[in-house]
Subunit: 138 residues, 3 copies
Amino acid sequence: MIRTEEIEIDMQADGDTADITSEVQRIIENSKISNGIAVIFMLGSTGAVSTMEYEPGLKRDIKAAFERIAPSDIHYEHHKTWHDDNGRSHIRATFIGPSVVVPFINKKLTLGTWQQIIAINLDTRPRRRRIVVQIIGE
Amino acid sequence: MIRTEEIEIDMQADGDTADITSEVQRIIENSKISNGIAVIFMLGSTGAVSTMEYEPGLKRDIKAAFERIAPSDIHYEHHKTWHDDNGRSHIRATFIGPSVVVPFINKKLTLGTWQQIIAINLDTRPRRRRIVVQIIGE
Amino acid sequence: MIRTEEIEIDMQADGDTADITSEVQRIIENSKISNGIAVIFMLGSTGAVSTMEYEPGLKRDIKAAFERIAPSDIHYEHHKTWHDDNGRSHIRATFIGPSVVVPFINKKLTLGTWQQIIAINLDTRPRRRRIVVQIIGE
C-alpha cells in the first residue's frame, strides 16, 4: 500500500531549518498503513532533508557549518551560467541530499528521543518549500 | 511489485557528474508500476548519488567543493593500507552517500524543474560506474 | 512484505565506524523476502549510516575528515542550550544523514566488492548505538 502527500512550508534563506516530524507522523496516522517506511523527498535543487535535534543553538550552528563546506564569499561558475547568486546553495543541497527514509512501526516513526526530521532551505532567498512524503507499507 | 535494473555509465575522474534522470524515468515507464519509489544505489565505495541542477558551471563548482572537504594534497592512511592513491575518493563518497530515493506518481518522478538525479564518480581514475535502480510500488 | 529488526552495537566516540553488513545480510536471510530493499536507519541525532571500504586506514581518515567539516575546537551555540559538549557531533551526523537504502536480489545485497554498510558514532562519548533495519520486498 502506498500513500503520497505533500507538505508546504515557508522558510527563511541560507540554511534555515524546519521541524516537519509532526506533519510526517500525521500523514502516517491518517493512512491505513501500520508498518513501513516514510520517504521524505525535497523538491528542488536548493533544498535538502535530514534529521537533527531541533533546538535554536543547533539551528545557528548548522548555518555556520554550511559556510565552511561552501562559503558565500568565493567564486562559483554557476553564477556565470545563469547570472545567479546561489552557487553555494546548490553545492550545500547536493552534499546533504534530497531524501531521507524513516521506518515506522505500529504507526510510530522509529526516531530517537531528540531526533527530528528537518527540511532545510539552502537558497539565498526565502522560499516556500515543497516536500513529498510517501508512505509505503502494510 | 518490484523491478530491478542496472545502469552502466563511463565517467571521468575526481568528481565527474552524470545526469541519469532519463534512464531512471525510462525504467519506470517500462515497468508495470504506476506509483512508488525509485531507489538509486551506487555500486562501489568511490562513487555516490544525489540530485543537482545539472549544468556545466555547477559541474565544475562541485569538484572544487570536494577539494575542500577532502583535499587531494594531504596524507591519507588509506594509502598505506593498499599502496593506493584514492583516500580522498572514499571519504568524499561516504560523505555524499550511495543511495537516493525519489518518489514517482502516475509514472512520473516527483523532481523539481531544475533538479536532476546525478551519479558521481569520485575515484582518481575514469571508471565505468554501475548504478542499481530498483522500482517498488503498485 | 515487511520485516523490522534492530541492531545494537557498542561504539567508541568521535567518528568511530562499525561494519554492520553481515548483520543486515543475516536479517535478509532470516526473512521470507527474496527481492527488495534494506532500509538502515540510525536512531539518535549524533549517529549516522553510510557505506565505505571498511579498513583501518580509512577508519582513521574519516575521523580526520570530520574534524574539517565540524572542528572540535570552535564554539557551538548548542553548548549554551544544554551545557553540552557535542555540537560538532550533531552537525556531522546531520551532514552524513541517518538513513541508507540498499537493494537486494535473490537475498543478496547489491554492494560493490569493497563496499560495506557502516554505522558511525559521532557523539563525544562511547555509545551503545541502535540501528533499525527494515526489509521491504516480495
